[in-house]
């Protein structure tokens, strides 16, 4: 406001222009404050969202492990019977050896509950890979079960009365003893990315969902990208302007606003019910998402084609290019950055879409990653949905962690879109 003061001092203002100008300036300042407040509020909400996700999710990025020296007893495990064998027995024996005082079935059971159900399978895979280990004592590091993982991460309140706690005092004492002996470690939880889903939180991972989402997005891209661009080019460059093309245009715009669950119902009726395609398959998921993504791609492509200056078209026509040479030789390459940006944003939307996938059964409990688009699978958002619904405590932080993984992919895709736009942006 220094300039208004200065101009008032220099006497440039008419006597009655002062208050009017002050009012105008006040109005402008008010507008700026409201705008900044709105942005501040949006940023605050974003920080709260991401902050709460990180606060509850970061614990799922580590997993408590127990290191034991296990004697691979040839009496329990024989080369010729692999992959069968008493892997659970040898690993439990190793744990019991650390606590000679533990006796009786109930106590033994309580102690071996520290081990994850998946521990024996990790040991089995290692022995199957290298049978010469039979008869030796090897050091293995295996996950502990979810309860003790929670305990180690401080998510179990030790002051809660024992009868209200899942982890009993005796078990806590054993665990603390193991911890003091240095057998407990908390490495990065790669299983979160390399394992498929599991009933046991400590073993559950996102691999199935990641692969399922990948297949679904690939199918979605292969269908919606060429069809969307083709439709947009026809409508923008070749179609006559009449009531019929107006009708199509209005309908495409409406299609982009249809709730996604409706597309799910359509896919359920048509793809599963009528075509008889397999349930829960990423192929069907991708086809459903393609229905939703196509209007977005058509709208983005038309906008990109429109933004190519008419002088380029005239220049090409002027040297005798035919309509298709103008479109494919000049307009389309210039529109490509905009088209790619729209496509990536459309695919990012599809990646986060949940409702239509629920309706075609991509929220099934599937413990292996799909090998092809026809195998049953989940997708990232439906996996989040499943985990959010699970009662085990360990899934609370895993749900947040899965959301963070999904957000990472979304941010990466949007960053790619921004990069492409700025890289291929042309000035004329």
């Amino acid at each position: 406001m220094a300039d208004t003061d200065a101009s008032r001092e220099s006497g440039l203002l008419a006597p009655n222009a002062g208050p009017a100008l002050r009012r105008r300036n006040r109005y402008q300042i008010r507008l700026q404050i409201i705008g900044m407040a709105a942005i501040g509020f949006a940023l605050l909400m974003l920080v709260i969202l991401v902050g709460s996700l990180i606060a509850s999710g970061y614990k799922a990025f580590t997993q408590t492990h127990l290191t034991l020296d296990v004697f691979i007893d040839p009496a329990e495990i024989q080369v010729e019977r692999l992959p069968r064998g008493g892997f659970d027995d040898v690993i439990e024996t190793a744990l019991l050896k650390k606590f000679p005082t533990v006796e009786g079935r109930a106590e033994t059971r309580a102690l071996t509950d520290i081990l994850s159900n998946g521990a024996q399978f990790q040991l089995r895979d290692r022995i199957v890979e290298n049978p010469s280990l039979i008869g030796q004592t090897i050091r293995v590091t295996v996950p502990v079960s979810d309860r003790f993982d929670q305990l180690n991460k401080g998510l179990v309140d030790r002051s809660t009365p024992e009868e209200l706690r899942q982890v009993k005092d005796q078990a806590i004492a054993w665990f603390d003893q193991l911890k003091q002996s240095g057998a407990i470690s908390k490495p990065l939880n790669w299983a979160l990315l390399t394992n498929a889903d599991s009933r046991f939180p400590e073993l559950a991972g996102l691999k199935g969902a990641l692969v399922g989402s990948f297949w679904a997005l690939l199918v979605c891209f292969v269908i919606s990208f060429p069809l969307g661009i083709g439709a947009a080019i026809y409508l923008e460059e070749f179609a006559p302007r009449n009531r019929f093309s107006d009708l199509i245009e209005v309908n495409i715009n409406n299609l982009a606003a249809v709730p996604s669950v409706v597309f799910g119902l359509l896919a359920l009726a048509v793809f599963l019910g009528w075509f008889g395609l397999p349930r829960s398959a990423p192929l069907v998921g991708g086809m459903t998402l393609a229905l939703m993504t196509m209007p977005t791609i058509i709208i983005a492509t038309r906008a990109a084609l429109k933004s190519v200056p008419p002088s380029i078209r005239q220049a090409a026509l002027g040297v005798g290019a035919s309509k298709h040479q103008v479109v494919f030789g000049h307009v389309l390459p210039l529109a490509m950055p905009g088209i790619l940006t729209g496509t990536i944003i459309g695919l990012a939307q599809a990646l986060g879409e949940t409702a239509p996938l629920l309706l075609i059964g991509m929220n099934a409990f599937i413990t292996s990653a799909p090998g092809s688009p026809l195998d049953s699978a989940t997708a990232l958002p439906t996996q989040i949905f499943i985990w959010a619904d699970s009662p085990e405590r360990g899934f609370v932080s895993r749900t947040s962690a899965a959301i963070l993984v999904l957000l990472t992919f979304l941010i990466a895709m949007n960053a790619l879109a921004i990069y492409l736009r700025s890289k291929f942006e042309r000035k004329w």
Binding site: I312, Q314, G320, G329
Partner: protein
């Protein structure tokens, strides 16, 4: 006014290149061109002058069927090029536009290299067999466009990186590259500074040896400087058409006189 002339005006009759008879153009209900009859001669610079909205650009765009692209545009009457009706359904507008090149108001090089800007036309019309022949066409066109010396060392640089005047000469070179017989220029200097304008005008004077040039211009001085014949359009009518010297010194129609003396326009 006569001393402004750049061209030696030889008044002997030349062959007619383009001939329009009873040409009418409608944009929807708007009657934009009314009963235009004009004979454009070979190897002549013909200028179309007139106030804004008088239809001179519209008529120019009829000569290479650029108005075909406008949905609600309707054209009646006949326009012939070397005696051949260009609106005959058997005529391919693509072939026509190779023979009747066009330069636009705003320089509009393709966002490609200088080389590709020139080579595009010959490529799509199959005028060159092999790289060597194409190189030759590019060099010849750039030389004819009076820009070769400025760009010969940077043919791979983008055409959009040149100055406005260079871009316009590049566009003229691009139009020449398809070996046209007629060059249509729609206010080619209106976006250029006086020096670039002078260069383009010099080039136009050079080009008339080989081509029929039709130039639409807002500047009466420019019409007087570069053209042999001038057509004055007003409200969609061709008011007067004749030798440039006669139009500017001794107009027959009172409207022409009003316009060139600055009373309408």
């Amino acid at each position: 006014m006569n001393d402004m002339r750049k061209v030696e005006r030889d008044v002997d009759a030349r062959e007619v290149k383009i001939s329009a008879r009873d040409c009418q153009v409608w944009y929807g209900d708007n009657h934009a061109i009314k009963d235009v009859n004009v004979d454009i001669e070979e190897k002549t610079v013909t200028a179309f002058i007139g106030p804004s909205g008088c239809g001179k650009s519209t008529f120019l765009r009829c000569l290479n069927r650029m108005n075909d692209m406008i949905d609600n545009c309707r054209i009646e009457g006949t326009i012939t090029l070397d005696g051949q009706d260009i609106y005959d359904p058997r005529v391919d507008p693509v072939q026509l536009r190779a023979k009747v090149g066009m330069v636009f108001q705003k320089p509009n090089p393709f966002p490609k290299s200088i080389y590709d800007n020139i080579a595009y036309g010959p490529r799509i019309h199959g005028l060159a067999r092999g790289k060597a022949e194409l190189d030759e066409i590019v060099e010849k066109s750039l030389r004819r466009g009076a820009i070769w010396d400025e760009v010969k060392d940077r043919l791979d640089a983008p055409g959009t990186g040149l100055s406005g005047g260079q871009q316009q000469r590049l566009c003229i070179a691009r139009a020449i590259a398809t070996q046209p017989e007629v060059l249509l220029m729609d206010e080619p200097c209106s976006a250029l500074d006086p020096i670039a304008t002078a260069q383009v005008e010099e080039l136009i004077d050079e080009l008339r040896k080989d081509y029929s040039v039709v130039i639409v211009t807002h500047s009466m001085q420019q019409a007087a400087r570069v053209s042999h014949k001038t057509a004055f359009f007003h409200l969609g009518n061709l008011v007067e058409y004749g030798e440039t010297g006669q139009i500017f010194t001794n107009p027959r129609d009172p409207r022409t006189e009003s316009y060139i003396t600055g009373r309408i326009g």
